[in-house]
């Protein structure tokens, strides 16, 4: 039976008005503006762009302001906005070898050509609260040094020269797009990488950590981690050639994984790959570890039944918008559903004679 659910309008309007007021907080404190969030909470902006799957720092900053800093809510807003945009096309694959690197490190080669460039990293900080920041934001200018512009080769190329690592041969198969077709199994690597790059950072980190703790261990080294800007080129049909339509900051992680060989592959190093919008190295490393774990089948490894090897488990639970949508819907009115459950439990109890037992006890 349908039960009337009218009568909530006034309460909802009041709740929204109060939400707006709470979002603003104490009006004696200056209001945050979008450029402040974009410039000073940049890593939150980057996460919203990566998991919202839309590169637009101003929109991500707006979403963070609107969601009161609830990043999953902000990601939800970006995903919803994204669906309203007409798609002009797809870019040519970006060339991360031509990245203008802010940061580029390797945990496997000390003396790699191009050097170890630390960039603006939290690593090597003492993780002590800096009370100076509570007072004012004045910072001295960062030191500079002469630099010669040049492409920075990927570390894996050096191992490739010796044939010690699996190749990633050039391939131009158009990738499937999970924003256009529903996610279905089996998922090829291109689809898995798309799902992982926009996957929840916490979920991806947890899975990656599980592989390090022994659930499908794959002995990962960070062969290379780089953060920087790459140009985005797209073919423009009305022009008949490709032009740069912009520039995005990406974090790329290539893992080099120990591999003793399998039924189908010789002993060599194998690779996991992470590529994420913005400066998000925790996510990029996690993505690379999970990508590598999910590749067990093509590399002829054993399925040890670890969660990180289960493509369906990983991909169907990695999206925080799907997850939170389903999780949070259970707080919405289920009066009718619950009414029927109530009837059922009463009927079962009658049948089991529970009523009599209770009466006897009284």
């Amino acid at each position: 039976m349908y039960v009337a659910v009218k009568g909530g309008e006034r309460a909802i309007e009041s709740a929204h008005a109060w939400l707006a007021e709470e979002r603003r907080g104490d009006t004696d404190v200056a209001e945050l503006n979008i450029p402040q969030i974009r410039e000073q909470l940049k890593l939150a902006v980057d996460r919203v762009m990566a998991e919202g799957s839309l590169y637009d720092p101003d929109l991500a900053a707006l979403a963070i302001k609107q969601s009161r800093g609830d990043l999953i809510e902000a990601i939800f807003l970006i995903r919803a906005y994204r669906t309203t945009l007409p798609r002009f096309g797809a870019s040519d694959p970006v060339d991360t070898g031509a990245m203008a690197c802010d940061r580029r490190i390797s945990a496997t080669f000390k003396d790699l050509p191009g050097g170890q460039v630390l960039g603006p990293t939290f690593d090597y900080t003492h993780r002590l609260l800096d009370f100076k920041l509570a007072a004012d934001g004045e910072v001295p200018a960062a030191p500079t040094r002469e630099s010669v512009p040049r492409d920075v080769p990927h570390v894996t190329e050096f191992l490739n020269q010796e044939g010690l690592i699996e190749e990633a041969p050039l391939d131009d198969t158009p990738p499937p797009d999970l924003t256009r077709e529903p996610l279905e199994m089996p998922a090829d690597r291109a689809l898995r990488l798309q799902a992982l790059t926009r996957a929840d950072e916490g979920f991806t980190l947890g899975l990656a950590y599980s592989t390090q703790r022994g659930y499908a261990r794959n002995h990962a080294f960070v062969g290379e981690l780089r953060i920087g800007a790459v140009a985005v080129e797209m073919d423009i049909p009305e022009l008949g050639f490709a032009i740069e339509i912009g520039e995005v900051t990406l974090t790329e992680c290539e893992t080099v994984n120990q591999f003793t060989g399998s039924k189908t592959e010789p002993p060599q190093f194998t690779r996991g790959y992470g590529l994420v919008f913005g400066q998000s190295e925790r996510k990029a490393i996690s993505m690379a570890l999970v990508d590598r774990a999910l590749r067990w089948e093509e590399l002829g490894e054993d399925n040890v039944g670890a969660p990180a090897q289960d493509t369906e488990f990983v991909l169907y639970h990695a999206d925080n918008i799907q997850a939170t949508g389903f999780l949070e819907h259970i707080k919405l009115p289920h009066y009718v559903d619950f009414q029927s459950e109530l009837e059922l439990v009463r009927k079962l109890r009658r049948e089991a004679g529970a009523d009599q037992v209770q009466e006897a006890a009284e």
Partner: protein
């Protein structure tokens, strides 16, 4: 074709490719400021009024392998015609209709008699600014490059 203002002989579209890329990445309002300082805007009619949309950005597995979708980016595009029939196009990053209009005007003007003045008053300053910004960042990165030194080496 008039769209061959390239100094590089190889690719006949190289010049236009370069300036359209420069315009796509220009900071908000910058192209309009430079253009308006240089000249009065010519009349034009819209072929396609400014429109905001997205482009799916792709990467390659392992950096060099099969392509996959990373996510979209916002893009604004438009096309216009000058009275002499020259068509200007713009595809620029972000949601910036006024900037797309200025970029398409520059693209059209670069194909006509005003090319030299537009090059020196709009494109060259824009390029210099982008190069300076890029260099400043690269120099900060260079300052964080690790200089390993070895205390004692077991070889000559």
């Amino acid at each position: 074709m008039k769209d061959t203002f390239d100094e590089n002989a190889g690719d006949k579209n190289a010049g236009r490719k370069a300036w359209m890329g420069l315009l796509a990445k220009a900071p908000e309002g910058r192209v309009a400021t430079l253009l308006d300082a240089a000249m009065a805007r010519p009349e034009f009619t819209w072929l396609r009024a400014p429109e905001i949309g997205s482009t799916m950005v792709r990467g390659r597995a392992g950096g060099t392998g099969a392509p996959f979708n990373i996510g979209e980016m916002t893009v604004t595009r438009c096309a216009l015609t000058l009275p002499d029939g020259v068509v200007g196009h713009a595809y620029i990053q972000g949601r910036r209709k006024a900037d797309a209009e200025a970029a398409a005007l520059v693209d059209a003007l670069m194909q006509g008699a005003a090319a030299d003045i537009v090059r020196t008053t709009v494109l060259e300053p824009l390029e210099a600014e982008q190069t300076a910004a890029k260099t400043a960042r690269a120099q900060k990165a260079a300052a964080t490059k690790v200089e390993f030194f070895t205390m004692a080496r077991g070889e000559d």
